[in-house]
Symmetry: C2
Subunit: 466 residues, 2 copies
């Protein structure tokens, strides 16, 4: 008895009522915005066949997939045939392949569900966490990128964020940059892994890493000079942007694109990527999200399945991103046998909540009481009367707690106070004889007699006033 | 390419948008009712330490738990250290033990989350399914049972069910019946397993099974005679109840309780159980749920952790139950080291949805379009204008789809029709020159010119009229 561990499993969390209300608030806002953009809800199982997931997330991803033992006699062999959902994108690709005849030509779905990764837990990094994804399947038009950027941005704005940056890059622009610098195509991926760390470890260490990864000195220097040049452009503009002129943000993007065009030169793939970046910027100007976008030619993101735009949203007070996404025209083909163009974005619920909590962004109404009022029990003989009254008030749509035992009134009041319930109803003998009850305001301590049939309207009025 | 399986894993389901909307509707109604009863939301992780779950659900339950491989180098040993949530009650007991200082004395929580069981999939039986639980911890008062019965019943009524029966029994009444029949205490459990099948396999086969389980002929006959007597009482009343007189339902419960008192006689444990049944009935009369209750002295339910009331809700057109629950005063003690009284009820979301779908109980509004209107694209040169318009209309809180490509208009209309979107906006050159757009009603085919600034109000009005 009692020797069992009671903490949740490592990296997992219990959410007590106040936590759940915050999570549901954020999810509700995100859903409402995504619905406004014409996205429809999808849900997939937490458990997938293990082959569905293996080989989709790179070597490191494979390691982090939670694997489930085959059941029955097979359990002893240690064979795993199922696995826990690792993200919401691969299941979406499977769904699009499976139900292609039932889905519209352009399938716009949102999906807000947990995923599981056997990662080393750390501050803000959990083994179970929610993703809020939007994806559009079926179109290569840059309108899709612009819609997704606007939807994610609008969701953050509705939550009260007004200082985020949407970093935008393009897989083919990256290819163009590397080619222009003289990095051979077959070691582009190795070069990207190194470059991706520029913000974190600085030029010198990246240079060493590039050498280790087989990139010669000349192309490595050309690359790092180019990014240093972009950074200085950025720094110069930063001062101006602090004054929050949207026009200057847009001018900075133009300047960066200009350098990109210059650097990439005649490389066809690179030029196509830059063209698409320009189209996306133009369409985002039309939907009002362009002023939040920063073209970031160094942005690579880990996932290898991106084929076009790469997007990440950042705020200054969070080390990681609030979300990320991009275009992945090849993933559905792994299931369907023919490519279906696709582009999506995933907001990280846990990170949004961390920042909102630190900044005090949750609306005070979320901290409201678990009930509008509590009905007390006067004594053992009148329990039924309290039960009747609680039922009547619930029928009036009030949220009513009913104290379950004929304890001393003081003890009952204490329970209501501890739960933050603002009103308490007392069915004293005298009041009951007159068809009344005593209504006590737990915040002021005031108490008054109220006709039984008027309690609901009285409480509603007092709640509205407070 | 394309060789991958695309179905969900065995016994698991994908939910396309129309399915998700139905599920969210049911969950929303259940939550609203539970909140009205003063219950607060709780969420626990999908993954628990394996020891938390093992040994809590009996031998059969242990077999059905999905077990997760220990990660890293341990994967090859086949050792499992984690497992998927099997129900919402054991995690609740763990939570109450872990956060006892943070939770109110009487903790009333609801929890609506999926659980996983490695059961053999069958019609209506899945390996991932949602439970909607309410539980009250901290009180032995029968007010708790009455509240839980009323809350579950109210949730079903709000969903449109008006024909369900709440079967009610008591663990100690069962003990009293078996003792009175002369079954030795140490084989009570074996006898219950046999008795539980009376409805399904009939008296003769149960008699054989009881003999096999070591129950002597005399007590077995006494038992089966008693239940046959109750069944005849039931059949006699059934005719009267078809006329739906609540009073007759209550009279039947009185008659059954009378026979129970008579049969159990002076057995102390049995008498206590019957007393509690009577208290619960009385309190349910006060909250308006008594007329749905049927005292069912044969109801046992599989789970061994029940210590008091046992509850199950049935409708005639479903073989299993819509939900079940009861009192389990010992479970929290397995984690905490001291007992905490507890009572709860779990509604099965999947079964509710099956019956509602078969009966056509979902409100038609749920089948509504994924968007209020779709903005079309006139030609490549005016894409940005369409993007601007879609943004404007979303800012007016309309749900707006934006066709992503400059396809022929007919193709764009077809897409809107296929998705059931009622209105389409066309930004033709002539209309644009006049600051207008064409608004097409996809249901009637009617089309008219509307001032750009009036589209939102126009669409809202047309939607309200239809």
């Amino acid at each position: 008895m009692g020797s069992e561990k009671t903490q949740p499993a490592r990296g997992m969390r219990d959410f007590l009522p106040a936590d759940v209300r915050k999570r549901e608030y954020v999810i509700g806002v995100v859903k409402e915005v995504y619905e406004r953009f014409g996205f429809e809800p999808l849900e997939t199982p937490a458990v997938e066949n293990i082959e569905t997931l293996l080989g989709k997330y790179g070597e490191e991803g494979n390691q982090l997939i939670f694997k489930i033992l085959k059941r029955g006699v097979h359990e002893s062999t240690g064979e795993a045939d199922l696995a826990l959902r690792y993200d919401l994108t691969v299941p979406l690709a499977r769904v699009v392949a499976e139900y292609r005849d039932k889905l519209p030509k352009f399938f716009k779905r949102y999906q807000i569900q947990p995923v599981w990764r056997a990662d080393r837990p750390a501050r803000g990094r959990f083994r179970e966490f929610y993703q809020c994804d939007v994806d559009v399947l079926g179109s290569r038009s840059m309108v899709v990128e612009a819609e997704i950027i606007a939807a994610a941005g609008e969701a953050l704005m509705k939550l009260g964020f007004d200082d985020f940056t949407i970093r935008l890059n393009h897989r083919q622009a990256l290819t163009g940059i590397l080619t222009a610098a003289g990095v051979p195509l077959e070691i582009h991926d190795a070069a990207l892994v190194g470059l991706d760390k520029l913000d974190k470890i600085g030029r010198d260490k990246v240079q060493t890493e590039l050498t280790e990864r087989g990139i010669a000195n000349a192309p490595a220097n050309t690359l790092l000079d180019f990014f240093a040049d972009l950074a200085s452009l950025d720094d110069a503009a930063q001062i101006a942007i602090e004054e929050s002129h949207e026009a200057q943000q847009l001018a900075l993007n133009s300047a960066i694109l200009g350098r990109l065009v210059e650097f990439v030169g005649s490389d066809e793939i690179g030029a196509r990527g830059i063209d698409e970046l320009q189209s996306i910027l133009q369409l985002c100007a039309a939907n009002g999200s362009a002023s939040r976008i920063r073209i970031d030619p160094g942005l690579a993101r880990g996932l290898s399945y991106y084929t076009g735009a790469i997007i990440e949203i950042h705020v200054k007070d969070l080390a990681g991103s609030l979300g990320g996404g991009g275009r992945y025209d090849g993933l559905v083909g792994m299931f369907l046998g023919r490519d279906v163009p696709a582009c999506g974005f995933s907001l990280g619920l846990e990170r949004i909540i961390v920042v909102m909590a630190e900044r005090g962004m949750f609306p005070p109404a979320l901290l409201s009481a678990p009930a509008d009022l509590m009905v007390t029990i006067w004594n053992e003989d009148t329990i039924e009367d309290s039960v009747v009254l609680a039922s009547e008030l619930r029928r009036e749509s009030l949220r009513v707690d009913l104290y379950p035992e004929a304890d001393k009134l003081g003890k009952q009041f204490k329970h209501a106070s501890a739960r933050g319930i603002p009103f308490v109803v007392i069915l004293g003998d005298e009041e009951r004889a007159r068809g009344e009850v005593a209504l006590k305001d737990m915040r002021s301590g005031d108490q008054k007699s109220v006709k039984r049939e008027n309690i609901a309207s009285e409480v509603r009025q007092l709640l509205a006033e407070s």
